[in-house]
């Protein structure tokens, strides 16, 4: 019907979406069999942070964007130190990359081609 064939596999998004909706229906069925005494907006849904009440001033509660993947970035620190240092922001370095790539391309094409 509608779908992609790659020669080694097939992908049919309509079938996938129907499967996804089916699983969603099953999940909602399971949810509907839960407790009936859960009400939103009452004291049951108040937020506590490590046992303390949520402060009124919520400005400092949002995890900053830079802190989100601290572990991964710190793990790759050696790679980032070198690669970020290469992105200097100076135009002469950009032109040097261009001329270097041109020279490399000449060497490869003349030797290999």
């Amino acid at each position: 019907m509608n779908g992609l064939q790659s020669g080694f596999g097939a992908w049919n998004p309509i079938a996938w979406t129907l499967l996804f909706l089916g699983v969603l229906v099953i999940a909602l069925l399971v949810r509907s069999r839960g407790r009936r005494d859960y009400k939103r907006g009452t004291g049951q849904t108040r937020v506590f942070l490590s046992g303390n009440e949520e402060p009124e001033e919520r400005g400092g509660l949002h995890v900053r964007g830079d802190n989100l993947y601290w572990g991964m970035i710190d793990g790759l620190a050696a790679y980032y130190r070198r690669v970020r240092a290469l992105h200097t922001g100076v135009l002469s370095d950009y032109v040097a990359w261009l001329v270097g790539a041109l020279a490399l391309m000449f060497v490869i094409l003349v030797l290999v081609g």
Partner: protein, 117 residues
């Protein structure tokens, strides 16, 4: 005495000088001059590509009756187009340089690296 390959050598020399100015000079205006030198080198190369030894200008009107060899007119059209394009790009580059000086207070390319990383 024919001129040989000398103009091509000059064109290559101009391009190399322009690249040197782009790579090793720190003043923005000198970099723009470097780009202009590269343009000149490429335009010289284009014009020389159409030259035929002993040829005359490619104009048929009032040409001498046994028509001698003419140089190719197409590279001359290409060069004119390229000169005009070079004018537009140099104007834009220089106007950006003026605004950069107004904002940063310097024309040193090593100081203008706020957008890095």
């Amino acid at each position: 005495m024919s001129i040989g390959n000398f103009p091509f050598v000059v064109a290559a020399l101009l391009i190399v000088l322009g690249l040197y100015a782009l790579l090793f000079k720190r003043n923005l205006i000198k970099m723009v001059i470097g780009i202009s030198l590269i343009e000149t080198g490429v335009n010289l190369f284009l014009v020389m590509a159409g030259y035929r030894t002993g040829g005359m200008a490619p104009i048929y009107t009032l040409a001498p009756t046994p028509i001698r060899d003419m140089v190719l007119p197409t590279p001359q059209a290409l060069t004119l187009t390229s000169i005009v394009i070079g004018l537009a790009t140099t104007a834009l580059l220089l106007s950006f340089a003026v605004f950069i000086h107004r904002h940063y207070g310097t024309l040193d390319i090593q100081e203008i690296k706020e957008l890095n990383g």
